[in-house]
Amino acid sequence: MRITVACPQQLQSDSNQLAMCLALSVADVDTYKDLSWQDADGNLYAVASFPTTDAWIHFAQNPLNRPAWDIDSVIDMDAVARAQNDLVFSDTAIEAVPNKLTACLGDNGLDVLLNMGLFAIPSSEEGI
């Protein structure tokens, strides 16, 4: 099972706090790093895609505590709560919107993003 997540620009900071809280280290603050996707209206998104489990999805939608690895209190737990309030899960691809952190299941992440209405922005390295 694979999950693909579209993080809109305005939720990028809070979503990266949530990503750290759900994952394994401070490096996960870069989960939603590059705003390299956009919707038909030109809204920008950072995206992530990874294998997951039902248990992880359940975990992500319930109240979270600071993970044991965060002994220096790096994570902003208020931001985590805000991001969780903006989190939308779907068993199928649904349209990404600029005020929600949209997470969709689907075996092929690139197909899921397409069906979420997102398109990759050509990189500066394209065409060299």
């Binding site: 394994l24 895609s49 390295e125």
Partner: protein, 302 residues
């Protein structure tokens, strides 16, 4: 004695050798504390087997490729969305003195062929890449200077999406020549590549150009990057080694009644059947093909 790609680095050649079929080189985290043990686990660290210490890592959990082990084959798989691995900065692989080789067994599964690169976007340095960035689904072995795109040495091969590819890219500085062979199809080009920039120190990236600047989806069965152009024999040996990583090899003996010397084999989807006689490959069939082999001489067994 079986060929060992480590021989390519026996004289201190720079580069790296990545071998997902050797699970002892794979770890789920980038620190190397949790080994990969089964199919479906993330790969945060893949050790370099060349002896150069160019281990490749991914510290962000969601960006780690996935280890796959199915039906006797092993590979790492990237989603084309955010997955890639990269090394710490490595001194330039493609040098004037020695040229370079990029040899790999891969399967491209998206719109861009599998990327392996050493790239610096900001300086007039020597880059190499396995993919054309203008023709994404096409393999292209290029060695170039970033700031002057007229001084490229490029060889291209048509795309091989959703099938396994044995890629061999060779660059020879002496005559400004690049050669690319993909599954036996050869192409080459020459150009007066400037000699500046060989001192670049940059990451080597797998599934990516420039540390995530461009991404590709697909499989890597094995990658060898060598700061030396390789001899014909080295290429032959390495291509055979890489091919073996993509094919489940088994042998079987089939008893044939010489009084009625026929038999048939159903090759199910994805299975390839080879028939060798006296060391020579006689027949190859694949993809739902029913094959029938009949002896031409009943005195000569199959």
């Amino acid at each position: 004695m079986a060929y060992d790609p480590l021989a390519l680095f026996a004289n201190g050649e720079s580069g790296a050798w990545y071998d997902p079929s050797d699970i002892t080189t794979l770890f789920q985290d980038s620190e190397g504390t949790t080994p990969v043990t089964e199919d479906g686990q993330p790969v945060g660290l893949m050790l370099d087997k060349s002896g150069n210490g160019n281990h490749t890592t991914q510290s962000v959990s969601s960006k780690r490729p996935t280890y796959r082990s199915i039906d006797g084959l092993q590979w790492i798989e990237a989603d084309g969305i955010d997955d890639f691995l990269s090394t710490a900065p490595v001194s330039g692989i493609a040098t004037d003195a020695d040229g370079m080789s990029l040899m790999m067994a891969v399967r491209s599964t998206g719109s861009r062929a599998v990327l392996v690169s050493q790239y610096d976007s900001s300086a007039s340095n020597r880059n190499f890449s396995s993919v054309s960035t203008t023709q994404g689904n096409e393999f292209q072995f290029s060695v170039q200077n970033k700031t002057n795109f007229n001084v490229n040495v490029i060889a291209s091969s048509s795309g091989n999406i959703n099938s396994d590819s044995i890629f061999t890219g060779l660059w020879f500085r002496a005559n400004n020549r690049a050669e690319l062979t993909v599954n036996g199809s050869n192409s080459s080009s020459t150009h007066a590549l400037s000699s500046v920039g060989s001192a670049m120190t940059e990451d080597i990236s797998l599934f990516s150009l420039n540390n995530g600047g461009l991404l590709s989806s697909g499989r890597i069965y094995g990658v060898i990057i060598r700061g030396q152009h390789s001899s014909d024999q080295e290429v032959t040996d390495t291509e055979e080694y890489l091919t073996a990583l993509t094919v489940l090899v088994f042998s079987a003996q089939i008893a044939v009644d010489v009084t009625a010397p026929t038999f048939s084999v159903i090759a199910n989807n994805g299975i390839q059947v080879y028939y060798y006689r006296s060391g020579t490959q006689v027949i190859t069939y694949s993809q739902n093909t029913q094959i029938k082999i009949r002896t031409l001489n009943t005195n000569q067994p199959l």
